[in-house]
């Protein structure tokens, strides 16, 4: 029997390592950190989806926050008992939140396909602007359909029977987990599943077709790739991932509200994909970590790091409102100038560097 190709073996080994690390991580970190990593996992799922669209198929989307919103609201509406109405139908269900996750994936997938069709006519920056437009208008549209979405107050799911996670924790397979740990395992098991599905999808014909579209639409078309089909498919798949992320986001927050999916979310998703490295799946973890933690901890760390005696910097109050955003922007631009191919690119460069060094000896 032929030995399995190293190119296939490495990702599989990496995947197994990742699963093991992910499984044992909560034992090494605090309960609260587990919650933070749970959110990183949720971001990661959305980033995988966006990467399929932007990194692999080359279509820029600044609107994935809107797809997350659809997913989140799907979950909330199905779980809630607020008597939300659409048409003649009143939603009041005891649907378990976990079952809403695949439903959210389906709903968003369809939404993505529906959006992908008209988007075929738009290229490059026009598409980016169109998706930007959708993300910007999403909160206002959500608020307009009050009876269905709960309007500006959103939908509160806390304590409802549909929610599996509660303050007292959850019992899974006989083990009792705190809420934060449960959230962590939930989001990361789905993330790892999504990662595997994504990887399988992208290494096959579909992935090659996506990459062909990205590299040159004309060449792809002349090679017989059905542009319309694959572009629409890319939208559908990426929206489905974002929908799952949105559903998990709703479960983690235990509420949804139009303001929890602002345009900043869509922007940060794109940032996460680029910083992680377009066209790379593992780098996205770094992207997710960057986007999530950069906003929160940088200001405090910097305040501690800069000694007081430094003439001007020492007096700077980096905790001041606005300072964290400045830092985020500066780091972002620095990354784009130094390592435009993101974390994955950096790893590649370091790897080839050492290869060259050791290859000589």
């Amino acid at each position: 029997m032929r030995r399995p190709d190293t190119r296939t073996l490495i990702p599989i080994v990496a995947y197994v390592v990742l699963c093991v690390v992910a499984f044992f991580l909560p034992f090494a970190i605090s309960d609260f950190r587990a919650q933070q990593f749970a959110y990183v996992g949720i971001y990661f799922i959305a980033l995988i989806g966006l990467n399929v669209l932007t990194g692999y198929t080359g279509l820029i989307s600044l609107g994935h926050g809107a797809f997350m919103a659809i997913g989140g609201y799907t979950t909330a509406i199905l779980v809630s008992d607020q008597g939300l109405k659409l048409g003649g139908h009143v939603f009041s269900s005891d649907l378990k939140d976990l079952w809403t996750i695949p439903i959210a994936a389906l709903v968003c997938g369809i939404a993505g396909l529906l959006f992908g069709l008209p988007a075929l006519r738009l290229s490059g920056l026009y598409l980016a602007l169109a998706t930007f437009a959708i993300a910007v208008s999403a909160p206002a549209v959500i608020k307009k359909f009050e009876d269905f979405t709960g309007g500006g107050s959103g939908i509160n799911m806390f304590g409802l029977p549909g929610l599996t996670g509660g303050i007292d924790g959850v019992t899974v397979f006989g083990h009792h987990l705190t809420f934060n740990d449960w959230l962590y395992y939930l989001s990361w098991s789905i993330a790892l599943l999504g990662l595997a599905i994504g990887w399988l999808l992208l290494r096959g014909r579909t992935g090659r077709a996506f990459r062909a579209v990205r590299d040159s639409e004309t060449a792809a078309a002349s090679a017989g790739v059905n542009l319309a089909l694959y572009k629409t498919l890319a939208f559908g798949i990426s929206a489905a991932y974002a929908g799952v992320a949105g559903a998990l986001f709703a479960i983690a927050n235990t509420f949804v509200n139009p303001d929890t999916f602002p345009i900043a979310l869509s922007i940060f998703l794109l940032v996460g994909v680029v910083v992680g490295g377009l066209g790379s799946l593992y780098g996205l973890i770094a992207g997710a970590v960057f986007v999530y933690f950069m906003q929160i901890s940088w200001a405090q760390q910097a305040d501690r790091a800069i000694p007081d005696w430094v003439p001007w910097f020492g007096d700077l109050n980096t905790n001041s409102p606005g300072a964290p955003a400045v830092a985020f922007g500066v780091v972002l631009i620095a990354i784009m100038m130094l390592v435009p191919s993101g974390a994955a690119g950096l790893v590649r460069r370091l790897a080839s560097l050492t290869q060259r060094v050791s290859g000589r000896s």
């Binding site: 006519r121 290229s123 208008s137 549209v141 307009k144 060449a219 794109l270 922007g329 972002l332």
Partner: protein
Amino acid sequence: MADFLQQVVSGLASGGIYASLALALVLIHRATGIINFAQGEMAMFTTYILWSLTSNHGWPYWPAFAATLLFAFVFGLGIHRFVIRPVERGSVLTIVIVTIGLLLILNGAATWIWTGEVRSVESPFPTRTIEVAGVTMSIQDLGTIAVVVGVVGILWLFFQFTKVGLALRAAAINPGESRLVGVRVSWMLGLGWGLAAVLGAVSGILAAPTVFLDPNMMAAILIYAFAAAVLGGIDSPAGAVVGGLLLGVGLNLLGQYVNFVGADLRLPAALLIILVVLLVKPSGLFGKPVVRRV
């Protein structure tokens, strides 16, 4: 009818503000092929400079206005040189992210330096209204229209009738050949950014008396400017101006006469219209379709 005309006039004024910013976006896109997501924040930042000059340092209005425009020009030039040039050859996405980073920096810096408190900026025009042919018009609106027309006019003259303007246009259309003729392309591109920043500053300064000054004042205006630029055709300066004015008037009329839209959905309605236009005519009203060569 008087109501209608009143809405048209105030629509032209707000449209002028959108047009100015849209023109800035188009200018930069024509010159460097980039969509500058930070255009609004650049405008906001320069407006703070005007406010600081008039409120904190007691400058009279028009000298401060001129000084601010000068600052904006240098600011735009500087940003192109130090932030954009290093990544100019990168991919589209890299540059988009850089402009987003710039957006974050400027927004954060404004909050950091001046705090998020909302401030009032005096308008050089009185807030009285006058009656013209039975229609009540605000002097402020008329003044805004006048300033926008003036600035756009001067710029048009610059581009059409000066050597530098010609060089700028050449550098934008064909950098390679322009270099052969002795045009210093990268300086021209920087000049383009400087002028765009001036247009943005005009937009911010004219908007400030109405929307008041705070770090997020330009966010909505930027979206309308995008819509206007796309509507008119992202590479067409005339399109940007027409698009902006159409948008301003259209939004006012929509908000006034279509009840479902009311004022809540004005923005999504505008964006929806843009999307529809894009689907029918992807390169905008005045844009030329992009021909892709294999």
